[in-house]
């Protein structure tokens, strides 16, 4: 899978946000790129901004302030005109890396967002509003930073401006279009988007182009947040939106300060002229604040004077959100390992390859600790190929009649599925991609990186890149081994969140432990589980017994010490 194929893919990268370095900048909100639609957001256009190298934290950053920043710039006015600039610090330090054993993690992942029964916890939605240039964005950033939880998405109302027709577009060019009126926003799209985010689903957020006043062809995928911050000037004017918010914050900043900021931002940052800016302010911005925005403060739970500079308010908000999140947190893996389902009959959704002498012989090679790596790779590849031929036979087929060169009709079978795609759980699952390609011509491949947090023992989601049309596909999910099933469950949850129907998922694996089989089958009974052998036990380190060892380490040769 070539990297530049990202135009077909949605992608997310979880990063800690570069911290704000000093006080003087803090008081200067226009020095920052607006992190609207942050967190797991990324545009689907495949720009180089996806590159991890683009983000660096300053050297002084403590390793634990995991907040994500966008994979691309916000669809704001600033984003449209000065896309490449990034005024936050980007020193070349690598202090953001976590080291554990031989493994280095450069991001912090998302812990489980569902319980051992697969039940979702809703993300906590914070609504944030205030007049234009009141410091909403700064406030949002301060909250994100102080929250210190890795999974925060920032959704900006600016992405939801309506597409303008020719005449409106020309009015806008003359500063005569009212961007501050509720009618300027597409509330239906906004409501459906926030609803899906609340359900934990992935959403496509439009990218609004403030030059053409159209939506870009590309969209931005936002997926996976425990906290959603929804900010904009008119976030409180719609009743349905209000009902979805768990906490409502009104940023109250003196109108003189707001005008001063607006002048500075529009003139020095966006190169507009004083007359035009003042005209727009007097005709639209000011009336809008008086007619709509100011009144919505009655819906607010908290009114924050001075916006992001107000540290006491930020701390109070963060305290409350933390309390709420703790009530929703989940511990999974140990629960799964000691699953009471052990000893139960094997579930119907489990398909184990018949243990022929060949299968047993291959297992003997790859399970033997003294097998050299080239033999280990050779025999595991053979086993994978057999596994995938077997897994393919679980897909739906339909009878067909074909004409043969011998001029007789032949009644046979063809696959009755429009699309198949493979998704590997990194690192070990990636080893199976080649074998899948050998049995499925031109198959599309997605990847999900899930790693165990060494402090909590919980799986965490770090990265994912999936084919755009995955919801219409049958998905062959690959992981070399499944012990507790925690990572597999997380990957299945990700697929479901991307609208893949449960019955279209096949989990394939070389070796599984009984507890993992039961956990996955119990939570996702429609997912087909296909493997070549099932072992009885999992030890305290969540390794399968007798097992195969750490498959990825043995395959890639990263196991020596």
């Amino acid at each position: 899978m070539p990297e530049d194929a990202s135009s077909e893919m949605s992608q997310l990268i979880f990063m800690r946000m570069p911290p704000i370095e000093n006080k003087s900048k803090m008081a200067n909100p226009f020095n920052f790129d607006r992190p609207s639609s942050a967190s797991s957001a990324s545009d689907s256009g495949g720009s180089e901004e996806h590159d991890l190298e683009g983000f660096n934290t300053v050297a002084s950053s403590p390793p634990k302030s995991p907040v994500k920043v966008p994979g691309c710039k916000s669809p704001t006015k600033a984003g449209a005109t000065k896309k490449k600039s990034r005024t936050t610090s980007t020193s070349k330090s690598s202090s953001r890396a976590y080291q554990s054993g031989l493994r280095t993690l450069y991001t912090s992942g998302r812990p489980p967002w569902y319980d051992s029964h697969g039940q979702l916890s809703e993300p906590f939605v914070i609504g944030l509003t205030g007049g234009s240039a009141s410091g909403k964005t700064t406030a949002a950033r301060r909250i994100i930073e102080a929250l210190d939880v890795p999974w925060v998405s920032l959704l900006s109302m600016d992405s939801f401006y309506k597409v303008l027709d020719e005449s409106a577009h020309e009015k806008a060019m003359r500063n005569e279009y009212d961007f501050d009126h509720p009618d300027a926003f597409d509330f239906n799209l906004l409501i459906s988007t926030l609803k899906r985010l609340k359900e934990g689903k992935s959403v496509e957020v439009p990218i609004y182009n403030f030059i053409t006043h159209n939506r870009d062809k590309q969209t931005k995928t936002i997926y996976g947040a425990n906290v959603v911050i929804f900010e904009g000037i008119l976030t409180f004017v719609n009743k349905e939106l209000l009902e979805m918010m768990d906490m409502k914050i009104f940023v109250d900043t003196d109108s003189d300060v707001r005008l001063a900021r607006r002048l500075k931002r529009d003139i020095s940052d966006r190169g507009r002229d004083l007359v035009g800016v003042l005209k727009q302010y007097n005709t639209f911005v000011k009336p809008s604040f008086e007619n709509y925005i100011d009144q919505t403060r009655t819906f607010a739970d908290i009114i924050v004077p001075r916006g992001g500079e107000n540290e006491v308010a930020t701390r109070l908000i963060v305290l409350h959100v933390h309390n709420q999140l703790q009530k929703r947190g989940f511990k999974l893996r140990s629960k799964l390992a000691s699953s009471a389902l052990n000893g139960q009959p094997r579930p119907d959704s489990l398909y184990v390859l018949e243990t022929t002498p060949q299968i047993k012989g291959i297992h003997t090679f790859i399970r033997n600790k003294d097998t050299p790596r080239d033999e280990f790779i050779f025999y595991s590849k053979r086993l994978m190929r057999i596994l995938f031929e077997y897994a393919l036979s679980m897909l739906p087929f339909k009878p067909v009649a074909v004409e043969t060169p011998q001029s007789i009709d032949y009644s046979g079978m063809r696959l009755n599925a429009r699309k198949i795609c493979g998704v590997s759980i990194l690192r070990a699952g990636e080893t199976m991609e080649q074998a899948l390609c050998e049995v499925c011509k031109d198959i599309r491949l997605g990847k999900i990186l899930i790693q165990t947090n060494s402090d909590t023992g919980e799986p965490e989601l770090h990265y994912l890149k999936l084919p755009k049309d995955i919801k219409e596909s049958h998905v062959i999910l690959m992981d070399a081994t499944v012990a507790t099933g925690a990572a597999a469950m997380m990957a299945i949850r990700v697929l479901l969140d991307h609208d893949v129907p449960e019955q279209n998922i096949t989990l394939t694996s070389l070796l599984m432990a009984e507890s993992g089989v039961h956990s996955v089958a119990y939570v996702y009974p429609k997912v087909k589980i296909v493997t070549t052998a099932v072992d009885k036990e999992v030890n305290d380190n969540f390794h399968i017994l007798p097992g195969i060892g750490n498959f990825g380490d043995r395959y890639f040769g990263t196991d020596y010490s």
């Binding site: 087929f397 011998q406 046979g412 079978m413 049995v439 011509k441 399968i544 017994l545 007798p546």
Partner: protein
């Protein structure tokens, strides 16, 4: 051709294997295998697809054929320090392909057994009489001590395979040490082989009255 057998073959989409004795084995037929067969039968299949799907079917037949080879039990220690009761294949096997179309199956065998010795027998039909004649044979010198995986994808009369088995016999290979790996077979060929070599093991994916005789030409692109 025995009409009874033909009827049986029609009644069962993949033929009736009971008629050919316990050494006549069929690949386990799944919908997936049926698809492979269908693509190979289809007139409209492109050559690229034909090779891709043929190689998949060959690989399945080879993997299944290897199950007929001898092994012994053995215990190994896994990286977690546990014992695993496994098994180990015994040495002393080889492959023999019947040229030309049997060569298409060599790579499938090579992909499973990296250093296996492979012999070749070239058999051609006389243009006029359609009689099969052995043109060339080169097999490992100690072949009489080995199990032989004989490879030939399409059997319509069984005459070519008969010639090849006779060559192996001339090299003192015991009949029950031969395992024939085959993709498509007619009932007539199946009966011929059963009658002539009752101790030979045969593995195929399908018994069907009409053999896909275009296999070699399409695989090698000499249509």
């Amino acid at each position: 051709m025995d009409p009874d057998i033909l009827q049986n073959a029609k009644g069962h989409p993949n033929g009736d294997f009971n008629d050919y004795g316990p050494r006549f084995k069929q690949l386990k037929i799944t919908d997936n295998v049926r698809e492979l067969q269908t693509v190979l039968r289809d007139k409209g299949t492109s050559r690229g697809d034909f090779i891709f799907y043929a190689d998949r079917l060959i690989r399945l037949v080879v993997e299944e054929g290897l199950n007929q080879l001898p092994y012994r039990n053995c215990e190994v220690i896994t990286p977690t320090g546990q014992k695993y009761d496994g098994l180990r294949y015994l040495r002393g096997n080889c492959g023999v392909s019947i040229m030309r179309s049997g060569e298409a199956m060599e790579q499938g065998l090579r992909d499973c057994c990296r250093s296996i010795r492979i012999g070749k027998i070239l058999i051609q039909s006389e243009e006029d009489t359609h009689e099969a004649k052995v043109v060339y044979a080169k097999v490992p010198p100690d072949i009489e001590n080995r199990k032989v995986l004989l490879m030939y994808p399409i059997m319509s009369t069984g005459n070519t395979v008969s010639k090849a088995v006779n060559v192996l016999r001339d090299h003192k290979v015991k009949e029950d040490n031969i395992i024939l790996l085959n993709l498509f077979c007619t009932p007539q060929a199946a009966q011929t082989i059963r009658d002539r070599y009752p101790k030979m093991t045969v593995l195929t994916s399908e018994i069907h009255p009409v053999a896909p005789n275009h296999f070699g030409q399409k695989y090698f692109g000499t249509e």
